[in-house]
Assembly symmetry: C2
Amino acid sequence: MNSVFQKTMIFMQNRISQLFGIQYPVIQGGMIWCSGWQLASAVSNAGGLGLIGAGSMRPDVLREHIRKTKAATEKPFGVNVPLLYPNVEEIMQLIVDEGVKIVFTSAGNPKTWTNFLQNKGIKVAHVVSNSKFAQKADEAGVDAIVAEGFEAGGHNGREETTTLVLIPAVRAVTALPLIAAGGIFSGRSMLANMVLGADGVQIGSAFAASEESSAHENFKKAVIYSKEGDTNLLLKQLVPVRLLRNAFAQRIETAESEGKSKEELSELLGRGRAKLGMFEGDMTEGELEIGQVSALIKSIKPVKHIMDDILLEYRTAKAQIQHIRFDF
Amino acid sequence: MNSVFQKTMIFMQNRISQLFGIQYPVIQGGMIWCSGWQLASAVSNAGGLGLIGAGSMRPDVLREHIRKTKAATEKPFGVNVPLLYPNVEEIMQLIVDEGVKIVFTSAGNPKTWTNFLQNKGIKVAHVVSNSKFAQKADEAGVDAIVAEGFEAGGHNGREETTTLVLIPAVRAVTALPLIAAGGIFSGRSMLANMVLGADGVQIGSAFAASEESSAHENFKKAVIYSKEGDTNLLLKQLVPVRLLRNAFAQRIETAESEGKSKEELSELLGRGRAKLGMFEGDMTEGELEIGQVSALIKSIKPVKHIMDDILLEYRTAKAQIQHIRFDF
């Protein structure tokens, strides 16, 4: 056990719930076309941290979702901002103007926006997929780090490090509050990641398939009927993304196995496919972003029900660890 | 929580240590060119289960390793047999003749050999990478199942399911004793997998880099100096295998990204590369099989030291769970 671990983990209350002022250290991942105000406010009302996924929203739409979230919950909530979008300055100003208190940033340099946001009293968490970027986020002064493994849905790291390996790797290089993401959907997977060194978890797929998710019903059904091996990490030459297999994803897979160029893949991808699939419900030609745990999600449930199940299983698993079968 | 889980997990002593008559439910993975009699006997002597990796051995060599293991330990040990080898009948008869009491089978149909071995009083575990094969192993009557995730070194499943997702998936379909493999190297990763539903763990890479491993010193050093992202799952068109990046692996990666055929990849692979790399120490042209956790293994230690570290960290992590930061 390394010294950072010992120093930061043993005699401390839960740092993630304290940092964000929430009841349980369960963050709902910001997901394009899934996490609008209904989902974010439902998760916050259930005691977790709801995040509006700004990635799929024009500024005026984001403003509307922020206002509706504020109307729907008195609990803390946040906005997830992928830093690669061209209008990120406008988005950040809007977030400040609307009085949002928590921002999760991803897909970019954490140095660019962390100080700006913190100077306005906003807590900042940054998403990484390896320990090198975790160190950079730490140096940039973020309040928390989200470490997301290979099994996560949507955009994903190039190194393919799984959550089980990534969390110890990140924990070894930073003393900051750490949120594990990728492959987490249940109380047991939550507790397992806390054991690995995380202070909290981010859950995506299970909330993407919830009743309050803004995703199309067709997409939610495709998720709950999917099986092991039905997702693949594709488009590694562009930006790696984990997709549910359908006609579109299979075309991409075939093109990649034939050694097609970046340009040809970009052409094949086209534009607007995530909206087409997840929001408009085209299960053949749409881009369907979801994690490997889709194989373990069996029904479309209300957020409150999902949270209750997670907490019940977490507490049961925690109590079971005291049993003799864990004693060596 | 599903009912199989509740029925099998709560009121039971550790089923893996009972099944094999060992002290701790820690299995050393059978690994070609690494796990000869020195490693297997050292792990068994340290209270785990040592496995001789028959995959790289001619029958006469395997016989010698079994005899030397028996001479070096009075504790239980086993042999790992990949079922795809052409001389598997000879190997199995030899195992019976030499009085081996535990066999781990992989890479083949568990129905073929399970009854034969069990009728000779041998306990059989079978390695799978998805829940469908776990069900088949259960139906074949094996005594235990090893479920190995995407992050594991060496040969690997096509579906790329990570250990964090695979263990709950397998636990949901079988009540058999379950051993988690892939990404496990420490007491925390061991406890995390027990929380997910495993009854024990299989550890490969950490033992491959141990003092008692028969791997070449060059390979052990390459493992401990490797970093996150230095392994890749390659040769997916043939049999997927996780390799440490070197000149050879990069040629394979390039060939795959160019869409080369199976035949061209087989040609590029050639024969004897695993021996060349792991046993003879050619770090440029050899095939170097290792798991993602290689990035987290920082020194070449004796097996006893590795086991002590794992158990100490396991007990510490287990005690910490009772702390208030885990209370919700």
